[in-house]
Amino acid sequence: MKSFIRFFSSVKLAIVLLIIITLASILGTLIPQHRSPAEYAANYGQLSGLLMRLEVTKLYSSWWYLALLFMFALNTIVCTLTRLLLKIKKVFRPAFDYSEKSLRSLNNTAGFSLDGSMKTLEGRIALALKWERFRVRSSKGDGRLLLRGTRKSLGHFGSDFVHLGLLVILAGGIISGFAGFRTTLQISEGQVLAVPTADFSLRLDKFTTEYYENGSVSDWKSDLTVIDDGEEALKKTIEVNFPLSYKGYVFYQSSYGWDWNHPSVELVMKKTLPVEAEETILLRIGEKAVFDNGDLEVHALQFVPDFILNDQNEVTTRSLQPNNPAVYIKAFRSGNEVFNGWLFSKFPDFARMHSRDEGDLNFSFSRYEAGQYSGIQMAHDPGVNWIWFGCALLMLGLCVAFYWPPREVRFILNEEKDRVLLTVGGIASKNKDTFKKEFDRLVESIRRQP
C-alpha cells in the first residue's frame, strides 16, 4: 500500500504519463480512425493486422489508451490528496518553527531595531499587516515573539481545484461513455415518432430550409412538438445550434433529406393516336393513369433520386440527393405493352433511346415532388452536466493558481534592553516582483515611527 501510494503520488510519473498520452494521441491523428479493415489493408498492407490488433485503429477507445487515462487519473487523485493534507496543515495550522537565520536567507528580508515594548510593537505590526489585508497569527516563547501574516492563502489551493476539475471531467466522460446515448432520427412532416429509450414522442409539424441569396443553405428549421402522456407538452422550433431539450434528452437539427418512398411525379405524354394530343399526368409511384376510355394505361413503377447502373447492370441510386432523378414507367394499349423505359428529369431526350420500339407515344419527365424529412440528432447524455461542472472548477482553479498568489511575512521580535530587535522575511512563490514592492512598503510602514 505504501509503495503504491508512493508510486502514484510521484509527479515524475505524471510527466511520463503525460508524454506517453501525448505521443499516443498524435498517433491517433496520423492513422485514420474507425475505417473498414479493407481500407487499412489497402493503406498499410502487412502492418494493418498489427494496427488492428493493437487497437490503434480505434485508439481513443482502446484498452491501453483508457488504461493510460485511468493511471493518469489515479496519479492525479493520489498526488493531489497527499499534498493537500500537508498543505491544509501548513496553511491553517502553521508551525512557528522558523529562525532568524532562515528569515535572513529569504529573497525578501529585513532586520532593524525599534523603540518600544514588545506589546506595543506587536500591536503596531498587527495593525500594519491587517491594513495590508494579511491574516495575523502569533506565538510567544523564551523571550521572543513570532508573528506570521498570510494573505490570499486560497492561492495555495488553485492547483487542487484544477486537478479536481480534471477528475470531474474524466468522470463525466466515463458517464457519457457508459450511459450516453446518441442516434439520428428521421422524421417527416406530420409524423409522430416514439423517442428511443424515452417515454415520450416527437411530432414534426413543419420543416423548412432557408437559403441565402446565392442559393446556399442558411438554415434548417423544424417545428417540433413533444407529446408526453398523450398531451402536447412542449412546442419549439429547432435550428442548427439551437436544440430542444426535454427530460434530459436533447434534439439537434443536423440534416435533412427527401422521403423517396412515396414521391409523386409529373409526366408529359405526347400521343398521335387516335388524335394528336398532349397530356400532363400526375402520378404517385405504384399508381396508374388511364386514357382513351380505358384503352391506354400508364404505370409509374419505380423512382430513384440519383440514377446509376451498378456492376450487374441493375438500376440503383448513387445517393439520396436528387442529382439524377429517374422514373421507370410502362404503358399498355389494350393490354399490350407499348412503352417501357426510364425517364430522366435532367435528360428529357434520353427516354426515346431506351424505349423498346418507336411508338406513337412520347414521354417526358417534367417534375417530381417528395416530402422532406428532417434529420435530427438526438442525444441523451447524463455525463454532460459533470463536464460543465468540471470545466467550471478547472477554470476557477486556473484563475486562483495564476492570479491569486499567496503571500506570507514572518517576524521575529527579540527584546533587547528597551529596544526590540526585528527580523522580517517575506515568502511568495509567484509574482515575486510585485511582492518585492509590497514587502518593502510593509516594512517601511512598520519602521516609520508613528
Binding site: 491523428t29 466522460g173 446565392n214 477554470m395
Partner: protein, 272 residues
C-alpha cells in the same frame, strides 16, 4: 475607406514598427524601441478598425475563412505583444514577434486565400463561435510571444555562458521569466477558449462535446505540452533551457493545430 485599404495600412505600419524595433536593436537606442511600440499600437488600432468594418459588412465574426482567420490571429499576436511590452517594457523581442505577425498578414493577403466574405454554413452561426475562436487565438498569441522569448533565451544563455553578454542586452533570466508569464496568461485563455468553449459549442451544434476529431486532439496535445511546461517548472523546478524547449514545442503544437490539421489531416473542423 474599404477594409482592404485599412488592411494594407495596417500591414505597412507593422513593417515600419518591425524596422524601427530592429533599428533600436542594432543602435541600442531605447527611444527607438518606444517609437516602435507606438507604431505597433497605431497599427493595432487600424487593424481593429479593419476587423470591425469586416464584421459589419459581412454580418458575422471576422474569422470564418482562412483570410479572416489569419488576419485575426495576427491581430491577437499584436495585442498580446502590446500587453507584454506595455507591462515589462522590453522592446527586444518586438521585431521577432512582428516578423511572425507580418508573415501571417502576408499569408492572409496572398492571392491563394479567398478574401470575399461568404455566408456562414448553419453550424457556424453561433455566438459560441466568437468566444471559442477569439479566446483560443488570444491564448495562442501569448504562446507565440513565449515562443519568441524562449528562442531568445536559448541564444542569450549560450552567449552569457561564453561571457559575451553586453550590459544593454536583455538578460537570459529575464527572458525566462517573461516566457513563463506569457504561458501563465496564455494557458488559462487557451484552456477556456480552446477546450471549454470548444466543448460547449460542439455540444450545442453536434450534440457531443468531444468526438476525438483531429483538431480537438491536437488542441489537447497543445494543452498537455503546456501542462508539462507548468509541472516541470513549478513542481520539479526546471528552468531555463529545458523550459524554453518545452515552450517552443508547445507553440509548434499550437501552430500545427491551426495549420497542419486543416491541410494534412481530415476532420470535422474543415473550415478555419
Amino acid at each position: 475607406m474599404t477594409e482592404g485599404t485599412l488592411f494594407l495600412v495596417t500591414f505597412i505600419l507593422y513593417i515600419a514598427a518591425a524596422l524601427t524595433y530592429f533599428a533600436s536593436l542594432f543602435t541600442r537606442k531605447d527611444k527607438l524601441g518606444r517609437i516602435g511600440y507606438g507604431i505597433v499600437i497605431g497599427g493595432l488600432i487600424i487593424h481593429t478598425a479593419a476587423l470591425l468594418l469586416r464584421t459589419f459588412e459581412s454580418g458575422h465574426a471576422p474569422f470564418t475563412n482562412m483570410y479572416e482567420s489569419l488576419s485575426f490571429l495576427a491581430w491577437s499576436g499584436v495585442l498580446a505583444w502590446v500587453i507584454i511590452d506595455g507591462k515589462f517594457k522590453i522592446h527586444k523581442p518586438g521585431p521577432y514577434v512582428l516578423l511572425i505577425v507580418i508573415a501571417l498578414m502576408a499569408l492572409a493577403s496572398s492571392p491563394l486565400m479567398p478574401k470575399e466574405a461568404t455566408p456562414l454554413v448553419p453550424a457556424l452561426q453561433s455566438y459560441w463561435l466568437w468566444l471559442h475562436v477569439s479566446v483560443t487565438m488570444l491564448g495562442e498569441a501569448f504562446f507565440a510571444v513565449a515562443f519568441v522569448t524562449s528562442i531568445m533565451y536559448l541564444f542569450a544563455s549560450t552567449k552569457e555562458k561564453k561571457g559575451a553578454a553586453s550590459s544593454t542586452s536583455i538578460s537570459a533570466d529575464r527572458l525566462d521569466s517573461i516566457s513563463y508569464r506569457c504561458v501563465a496568461i496564455g494557458f488559462p485563455l487557451f484552456t477556456l477558449g480552446g477546450l471549454v468553449f470548444g466543448m460547449i459549442w460542439a455540444y450545442r451544434a453536434w450534440g457531443s462535446y468531444w468526438s476525438w476529431d483531429p483538431k480537438e486532439v491536437w488542441s489537447l496535445i497543445t494543452w498537455f505540452v503546456f501542462a508539462l511546461y507548468l509541472h516541470t517548472r513549478l513542481v520539479m523546478g526546471w528552468k531555463g533551457k529545458r523550459s524554453a524547449v518545452i515552450a517552443i514545442i508547445g507553440f509548434l503544437a499550437a501552430l500545427f493545430t491551426y495549420f497542419g490539421v486543416n491541410y494534412l489531416l481530415s476532420g470535422l473542423h474543415s473550415y478555419a
